[in-house]
Subunit: 343 residues, 4 copies
Amino acid sequence: MDAAAHAYFFGGAGREQTLAANEHAWCKDWLWPRVLATPARIDTSVTLLGRRCPTPWLAAPMAHLRLAHPQAELGLALASAAQGAGFVLSTHATVALEDVAAACRSETERGPLWFQLYPYGEREDWLRLAQRAARAGFEAIVLTVDAPVQQVPTRAREAGFTLPPAWPQPNLPAPPPRGTLEELLAQALHWDDVAWLRQRCPLPLILKGILHPADAERACAQSLCDALIVSNHGGRVLDGVPPTATALPAVSAAVRGRVPILVDSGLRYPTDVVQARALGAHAVLIGRPLLVALASGGAAAVAQLWRRWRDELAATLALLGAASLDDLPPLHTELQPMPAPNP
Amino acid sequence: MDAAAHAYFFGGAGREQTLAANEHAWCKDWLWPRVLATPARIDTSVTLLGRRCPTPWLAAPMAHLRLAHPQAELGLALASAAQGAGFVLSTHATVALEDVAAACRSETERGPLWFQLYPYGEREDWLRLAQRAARAGFEAIVLTVDAPVQQVPTRAREAGFTLPPAWPQPNLPAPPPRGTLEELLAQALHWDDVAWLRQRCPLPLILKGILHPADAERACAQSLCDALIVSNHGGRVLDGVPPTATALPAVSAAVRGRVPILVDSGLRYPTDVVQARALGAHAVLIGRPLLVALASGGAAAVAQLWRRWRDELAATLALLGAASLDDLPPLHTELQPMPAPNP
Amino acid sequence: MDAAAHAYFFGGAGREQTLAANEHAWCKDWLWPRVLATPARIDTSVTLLGRRCPTPWLAAPMAHLRLAHPQAELGLALASAAQGAGFVLSTHATVALEDVAAACRSETERGPLWFQLYPYGEREDWLRLAQRAARAGFEAIVLTVDAPVQQVPTRAREAGFTLPPAWPQPNLPAPPPRGTLEELLAQALHWDDVAWLRQRCPLPLILKGILHPADAERACAQSLCDALIVSNHGGRVLDGVPPTATALPAVSAAVRGRVPILVDSGLRYPTDVVQARALGAHAVLIGRPLLVALASGGAAAVAQLWRRWRDELAATLALLGAASLDDLPPLHTELQPMPAPNP
Amino acid sequence: MDAAAHAYFFGGAGREQTLAANEHAWCKDWLWPRVLATPARIDTSVTLLGRRCPTPWLAAPMAHLRLAHPQAELGLALASAAQGAGFVLSTHATVALEDVAAACRSETERGPLWFQLYPYGEREDWLRLAQRAARAGFEAIVLTVDAPVQQVPTRAREAGFTLPPAWPQPNLPAPPPRGTLEELLAQALHWDDVAWLRQRCPLPLILKGILHPADAERACAQSLCDALIVSNHGGRVLDGVPPTATALPAVSAAVRGRVPILVDSGLRYPTDVVQARALGAHAVLIGRPLLVALASGGAAAVAQLWRRWRDELAATLALLGAASLDDLPPLHTELQPMPAPNP
């Protein structure tokens, strides 16, 4: 991976304050282990959208993975399926969605296979792409709602990042919008667009990019989604927004169990997944750690990472005296809270 | 720019505690974005002294810009005017104020053009310079009140910074005072001097360098200014003074809307401007980021920076669901405050 | 010591947050010295399990010390005995326990000699090893309860750490378990195992690795130990668990004096021992500082470190106006607490 | 200055936590400047022990200055006297006290000349040395009470610091004690020693090294001193003790104006002196900044530093709207306190 691509994948917006806070915010409460009470069996599975998932995580949708490794999205999808992890294919993937779905089909213990949708073009374009994903075997549509304007991370801009010529993007619903900021804003998705798509979409609809509890409340009150993902886009869209670990409890309180909640941004270790669970998330999306693995060793390295995460999550649960994620005790904040990390 | 000039421009007083705190203090509250509610049009303009300004920022008065780039103040003024930003010319500019005003005149969408005044010499000298600025087309006088004694930043002193010989300073009201500290202090500006100038000045009078709310109260109660600028001189005059983000709400409470408030020192990203607005500022002055741009690429780089700032401010407003700065919601501190940054 | 061995000894689990917090957490309260009241004599001894110990510390059980220095556990034990420090021999030592005990026997001022037991194999295997230790002259069995699953520190894994072939481990009760995580968890120690061993063990039984006060309460209520050691295994087993300085007061409150409490993890200076005492520990175990000394100069360097620690502890007590650890005043938190260190 | 001498002068005890905290703790409250109210004249003088001092500072007693520069204590004393600063000569000076006093005598605007006494030998030895200092023209005896056991800083020990052979120490009351820690402790100074010396000493007696308010109370209640110095010996004696800025308000409250209070340790800028004044100190002692100057340029560099400090203190007072240190407003903590610096 060259320096500009690295800056593109690992950078964030503005002074990268949210990027940094995302990681630190997961260290919210100390985990108080229990001794001499190891459960005989540990179950790392969760249930999402009516289906058992062997692990509580999915690979987050990431664009342009071919910049990281020639196996690109195909390698990441296969390794995830083989290790019981879910996978979310990006609209900006460099591999056709049909090829990804076909490759994963034979893995019987695989996690969910979802398709992430950027609403380029007209409403009918989005619907056609969702139908195409459904036909291929995808199980849900993840509609990204937090990026009406997409920006390149500060450091990627300074590094002069651009996509190579003739870059393959076989899953676009329509060409991405171009033009002035005013023109881009005029095409931004609105609540009525979501309602329109929700009525017609052949798959469950998941909204990705909610931070404000009032938005979560609206999505639930109007039955506009089957699940939602608390995300700040990995700190890439707007700097200064709260880390997702900060927003998650507020969103969870607003949702009141009406839909399952997922979360991403800043999760780097299986212990972070335990923290996310304690704050209200049913499952998590993992991004940059997979990028590191993919870039360093392709699908094999990704599979090794997922396998280690599963073992480490099981070990963590065992050390906390919990047989499953549902069995986790509340984190013992009352014993002594951790000092708040500085931004 | 040589190392000594760099130390002069980017250094601060003492141990540079205020210099560092200035930047961190703008990260005061998390910005909570809203989704699916992008306004159709974004307006970045503000109204200052009865005039519409396309953007809420002005280039702060900075001395000796020729050290950074041969285009000096002329380049910075032109690029600012072209991009709808205001410009404040320093008494210590290396270009005659008439030349600056003439160059900006043709830009129809330009921001305010103000002249910053150091009160060297006698009262009549100040008045003559203000009249000269008025004749040239400047729209206000910015009287600096926080630097009765000027010091070179610690690191510039250690780097042996001095001005080159025969340095052009065509806008001085009189030669800068020289002598012992006692002699300098004896010439310091007082409240009665401001009152004298205010009565005679042909232009609106703006006081720059207020931190203490009692001073803001006095300036308003005695109608001594048309606007005031909360500033600690970029941390250059006295170390250990509060960052302006800390002083701003206290000043705003004291002013109670009687005059518009501007603020400078430490603003580095358009998101900081949103924070400043939320804390009570109507507009901001930007200094060192422009210096970096000017030094690296002259007027063209400054224009590019201003253009990006305008787009990023518009995008930020859009992501917060606000059509203009007046439309900003209160920052959602109650959802969860950021931990206080350390000095 | 090669880089992989260094990573093995000095690394921690996960992002090493607990590893780092362990050290910082001992700087809990300022020590307020008293003047002109130096006691005539300073006594650094403590009483543990009915026996006087010249110093309040023991060398913590550490595995594979031959990687650090050819004198290995024998050198560390001898130097500790010579300087009045206790010594805990690891199950994973590279020297036979009989040889260690024989070497230390002649030191009349030595501290306690304990044997640390990993419960590999069957219950009878553990008991046989405890009996063997008793016959050799060990004074207590330290049963490690916090590591049903052992992990290599993150950085050691990345450095490719493995044990050399034919590595001597003459004190294992049985071969360490191998297999899948599920198989390892199935062999984990439980409370009834401890009760079984406690009834038959010819030596006092000490539980090592308690953090949660409820576990301490259970161990005391059921009389399952003669002492307990608050430990997070030096941050090596599970990242995100509280530093021992945080857990210690909670455990101390739960134990209510029923058994003596020891603590390890992160103690680096004799002043930390004073802090540990003030938080409820009767004695401490020291690990990594001894490793540094052993690796740099073998037994001689260890003896020099212990000697300096004893002098510095005596000097610290003198400066605090205390003639012994029992004579320490409460730390004067009320005068002004230290700000909480960040994780 | 070689590396070992540098480590000796600039190091601290233990992990150097107090050494670091000393500096940060002076940044306690923001200084809120006032504008347009510059006093016509600034007076930096203070009154100490019935005598006017042109500046509120003295050079702290420092041992072995010949290691820093051949002019040693003589250079530091002369430069201080010439710039209106006080000077405290160390018992461990490398120049005879008579020579120092003679050299300073002609400076009419000099600050106080004090002699620091380490109580080596017998009571009569101390008294003889105090009488000798009085005869030479010293104005007070500074009795160090915080170092019954002297330790070399951690990093100096590691650097192998030792004094050169035949090192001149012409002011010792008796040879420094040698022997085991127990023997050193047996010779420690006690309250009755202070009372004995106080009754006979021909000069005012100042106690240096008080941190605990109870010790300050005892010294005042029994009239055992004419002034006291809040000090932690620059963080060199015991790590983990509070920074002097933390102890100072507690001591000030205990003293209730009965004797003047001085403070040292960690003051690095004239603004720190303003903070010290606001926390209850009448004057300060400056150490390491003078060492840097002496080592870099002898007496000339020291004089330049003192001159700049005097100008910067005057400028600071002017910017705060105060004509003298007595005229300082309370620091406006209520406006907004600074966040507590981390240790």
